[in-house]
């Protein structure tokens, strides 16, 4: 399964854009309506469990939701061949408030350097990235309100529904820009309301994702380009964000709106004021979600209850404890059973219950004491530790054009995954052919530990040392590199640059 990444230029257009199910479903619904109307002696019917896909509902929903759906043309900032570069893609989004905030996927608009939004009216306006969150694959973009005002453009926003109330079999509609085809509507039903991919570890590029919620699974056809677009129920309320799918399989997945609501609110709350975002994205922290981390990998207890002698549906099994993480510092071990956090019970008997527990942990305050009630063997013990801020494995990235490489900060998560001794240094991500770093046979995943015999603690320190070497017009820069288990040295041969003239 892949994110429904837009790739309009590379993909052949589908030959049958309208799914046959659409018309069949319509006919069936009409028939039901007629029969019901003609039956006078039927007992009073209970209210329908969910709004149905009647022609009237479909017309009403498309009428109300379309003006809130947008097409996004995004240039994402990525690093390739040793350089910061842009990757252009098309996706979908939905306007969620009067301030012109557009909810979309991280894999559509996260790390965006440039965004154009095409509204329902076919008008195109500039937009800015307010903030993003790869953990939930969500991003918030804001329309340029000045441009909107100047052009006298109007837009509407979609009312937010309640994804917890969705029922299996309930009709839902997806609206978006599959393969660049803007304002495409498809209809289907909810296939499952708590789909989990546990224990699969999902990523977007290399960014971790999908750990904090289960998915809405639907058969509603979506395709690359639908990503970030709305999934709505037949009352016209936003219930999900279309995100992933098995292409052509009627197995598609949306992020529940109840999760997206929280994330969107947090991104908007933490975002710097609109005017400030005109600066380069490198200098300010955009809107984000701060989560707490205990450094544990959790596992459902299904069928292990008797082995551990615990009651059914009590606690969650600790599968692994991160090296140097908060849980390890507190003394937790694999196979401990976590019963409660600060007195609040946490239970996961089934894989579907893992994401909610992770979410509970993530909502703990960061850098605060937390009491962990744990079952170990026959003992019930309390461990105290301090939560840490959840950090992904992908650190901040920079390009060094004249050296011909891009580097990332080594985060604790990266160090844990790569079994590095510590999180010092910067890791090489990409190289430019023919430039000094490539010539010195530096390789991706090398960890640079020192520059000209000055230790590199983190990205900031590295950039300072780079600047120093650059300003001094060094023609040879000595790097110490950790490559796997071994330390190696490399010398970057730089062409002597002419010193900047001191004369006016």
């Amino acid at each position: 399964m892949h994110p429904t990444n837009p790739a309009v230029s590379r993909v052949r257009l589908p030959t049958h854009p309208t799914p046959p199910r659409f018309s069949t479903l319509l006919r069936t619904c009409s028939l039901v309506a007629i029969l019901t109307a003609g039956c006078h002696h039927a007992p009073p019917r209970p209210p329908p469990p969910f709004p149905d896909a009647s022609p009237a509902n479909i017309v009403a929903v498309t009428g109300s939701i379309f003006p809130a759906v947008v097409r996004l043309d995004v240039a994402q900032e990525i690093y390739a061949d040793g350089k910061r570069t842009l990757r252009r893609e098309i996706g979908s989004g939905v306007i969620i408030d009067q301030q012109g905030h557009v909810l979309t996927n991280y894999h559509v608009a996260g790390r965006a350097a440039e965004i154009y939004v095409t509204l329902f009216s076919k008008e195109r306006v500039k937009a800015k990235l307010v903030g993003d969150d790869h953990w939930t694959d969500l991003a918030i973009v804001q329309l340029d309100l000045d441009e909107i005002a100047q052009k006298h453009i109007t837009f509407s926003h979609a009312p937010l529904g309640d994804s917890d109330s969705l029922k299996v079999g309930q009709p839902v509609m997806a609206i978006g820009t599959p393969f660049g085809l803007a304002r495409t509507t498809t209809l289907g039903v909810v296939s499952n309301t708590d789909r989990t991919f546990y224990p699969e570890k999902q990523t977007i590029d290399e960014y971790e994702t999908g750990q904090f919620s289960n998915w809405i699974q639907m058969d509603t056809p979506i395709a690359p380009g639908n990503s970030g677009g709305p999934l709505v129920d037949l009352s016209g309320k936003l219930v999900g964000i279309n995100t992933r799918g098995f292409p052509g399989q009627a197995l598609n997945f949306a992020i529940p709106i109840n999760l997206a609501k929280d994330v969107a609110a947090e991104i908007i709350r933490t975002a710097p004021a609109y005017a400030a975002t005109t600066q380069s994205s490198a200098t300010i922290t955009p809107g984000h979600v701060t989560r707490a981390d205990l450094g544990v990998d959790l596992m459902p207890l299904q069928d292990l209850e008797s082995f551990y002698e615990v009651d059914v549906n009590t606690g969650v099994l600790i599968n692994s404890v991160d090296r140097k993480g908060p849980a390890e510092k507190a003394g937790l071990k694999p196979q401990d059973i976590l019963l409660a956090l600060n007195g609040q019970p946490v239970n996961a008997r089934f894989p579907e219950e893992i994401a909610p527990v992770r979410r509970t942990i993530s909502r703990l305050p960061v850098d605060q004491n937390v009491a962990l009630l744990v079952r170990r063997g026959k003992q019930t013990l309390t461990f105290n530790t301090k939560t840490e801020k959840l950090e992904g494995a992908v650190g901040e990235e920079r390009e060094l054009k004249d050296w011909g490489l891009s580097v990332r900060d080594v985060t604790r998560a990266y160090a844990v995954q790569g079994q590095l001794d510590d999180d010092l240094g910067v890791v090489v991500t990409t190289l430019t052919n023919g430039f000094p770093a490539a010539k010195a046979e530096i390789k991706p995943e090398d960890v640079i530990r020192s520059v000209n015999q000055q230790p590199v603690e983190d990205l900031q320190a590295f950039m300072a040392l780079y600047q120093k070497a650059h300003d001094a017009h060094d023609t040879a820069v000595l790097l110490e590199i950790q490559r796997g288990r071994g330390l190696v040295r490399a010398v970057l041969r730089l062409t002597a640059t002419t010193k900047p003239s001191t004369k006016p």
């Binding site: 599968n319 079994q419 001794d421 046979e441 330390l487 190696v488 040295r489 490399a490």
Partner: protein, 466 residues
């Protein structure tokens, strides 16, 4: 007339020179290919053993060269892969091809491996006094015509076959090799000069099979024959003392790893332009090198008071030095001349070589046949690779039977089992006892094990077949 006639002295000079100069191979008349074949082919045999493991049984056949009157047979090391435990290699046999008949089958014993010299030996237990060849260190020069006698697979009755080629380049590197223009015999074939004297054997190539018994192999090696061979001088030491059955050769161990050659640019920064030098990538804690004060990052400029061997390129320096160390003996003192930091004067460190710690192939094993996995004791490399304390204990999973309960539970090869049913596990022997007791006491209940996998732990529940 007399002026034109060469003097008697002039006529005698070439004759005298021929008598007085020491005779060399090159000066002798070359044998004909038929003579070479007739002389060497009888010493070429096929060697078979049965690899008997959890995976089942498999007969593996490769080329052997009879190298003495006692019926000792030389094999390339990879044929007796050091990763295989000795007790999994059974029923050694030698097939001696016979013209017009099925090959003669002679039982043999495995003498052992000589990892320093990259070879292994077996010896026939009967039918001795067979023709043999003697390896001596002879020149291998570019332009020299060489012959090679390989052995055809079973479909060819294990008959020897002759090829000819010319040495086209000498390559250094970790294992020195010679590149030839023209075909050599298949892997394990002997290489000869035009006097039918052995000058090397054909080592593993980028393509082609190690075993004659490889069903994918067939006669394809005749289409893309090997191009490289190892000259005798690289393994001549193997003939001094043969390994003894059941006795592993003691290999020296300094504790220095990840040696890499200094590039020209780095050498220049350290004022070592023109010096062949290697930097120490890692020094394993607790080893002789660490005790002697060597540390990662130090730059070795001399070994045993002599400059390092440069090989063909900087990448060869590290492996060549590692190999030179491995040729020495346990307990020997070796000297490294080292620069500890930029601008510092060289210092000499003396390291008394330790013995290499046991390898996985010597570790005790246990096959949990009912659930379909096997484990072995952990050895040095297991704790080292996982960055665990040297005394950390666990059992390494070496085999998972397909479609078994262990496979269904997603237990994986290389997982290191640290606990079973809540109890720590340390050795294959104690694991076997505990495992068998648990299976007997509760045959229907799952076995819960904790493993280390890529720096994290995994709890794995193996559900027995119901």
């Amino acid at each position: 007339m007399q002026r034109n006639a060469p003097s008697i002295t002039a006529r005698l000079i070439p004759l005298l020179a021929a008598i007085l100069l020491p005779s060399t191979a090159g000066a002798q008349t070359a044998l004909t290919p038929a003579q070479i074949y007739a002389k060497v082919a009888p010493a070429m045999v096929a060697v078979q053993f049965t690899w008997d493991s959890e995976r089942g049984r498999q007969d593996l056949v490769g080329i052997g060269i009879v190298c003495d009157a006692a019926g000792t047979i030389l094999l390339p090391l990879v044929m007796a892969n050091p990763g295989l435990p000795d007790d999994q290699m059974k029923d050694w046999k030698v097939y001696i091809p016979r013209e017009g008949k099925d090959p003669d089958e002679v039982p043999a014993t495995f003498l052992g491996r000589d990892e320093r010299n990259g070879v292994a030996f077996v010896r026939t237990t009967e039918n001795k006094n067979r023709p043999f060849v003697t390896f001596t260190d002879l020149p291998t020069d570019v332009g020299q015509t060489v012959y090679s006698v390989g052995v055809l697979p079973k479909s060819g009755g294990y008959r020897p076959y002759l090829t000819t080629a010319m040495i086209s380049a000498r390559l250094a590197g970790e294992t020195p090799t010679r590149l030839v223009a023209g075909p050599l015999g298949n892997f394990g074939a002997i290489v000869l000069n035009d006097q039918a004297q052995p000058i090397g054997y054909v080592n593993a190539q980028a393509e082609g099979s190690v075993f004659l018994s490889d069903p994918r192999g067939g006669l394809t090696f005749l289409n893309s024959p090997p191009k490289f061979f190892v000259p005798t001088y690289d393994f001549i030491g193997a003939f001094k003392t043969y390994p003894k059955p059941g006795e592993a050769t003691k290999l020296p161990w300094s504790g220095i790893t990840r040696l890499s050659g200094l590039s020209k640019d780095v050498a220049e920064v350290f004022g070592l332009t023109g010096t062949v030098a290697a930097e120490i990538g890692e020094v394993i804690p607790g080893t002789a090198a660490e005790k002697a004060g060597l540390r990662k990052g130090m730059i070795i400029t001399q070994f045993m008071g002599k400059p390092l061997d440069g090989g063909d390129e900087p990448d060869d320096i590290g492996p060549t030095l590692s190999r030179a160390i491995s040729r020495l003996n346990v307990g020997e003192d070796v000297n490294f001349t080292v620069i500890t930091a930029k601008g510092e004067a060289p210092k000499t460190f003396t390291v008394k070589l330790d013995e290499r710690p046991p390898t996985p192939s010597t570790a005790k094993r246990f096959f949990a046949d009912d659930l379909g996995f096997s484990v072995r004791d952990s050895v040095f490399v297991d704790t080292y690779r996982r960055k665990l304390a040297a005394d950390a204990k666990g059992l390494v999973v070496v085999f998972i039977r397909e479609q078994s309960a262990a496979a269904a539970a997603k237990l994986a090869p290389n997982d290191m089992i640290t606990e079973m049913n809540g109890q720590p596990v340390t050795t294959a022997e104690t694991f076997k006892t505990a495992y068998e007791a648990a299976r007997k006491a509760k045959p229907k209940e799952a076995v819960v094990i904790q493993v280390l996998r890529e720096g994290a732990t995994e709890v794995i529940r193996i559900e027995p077949p119901q």
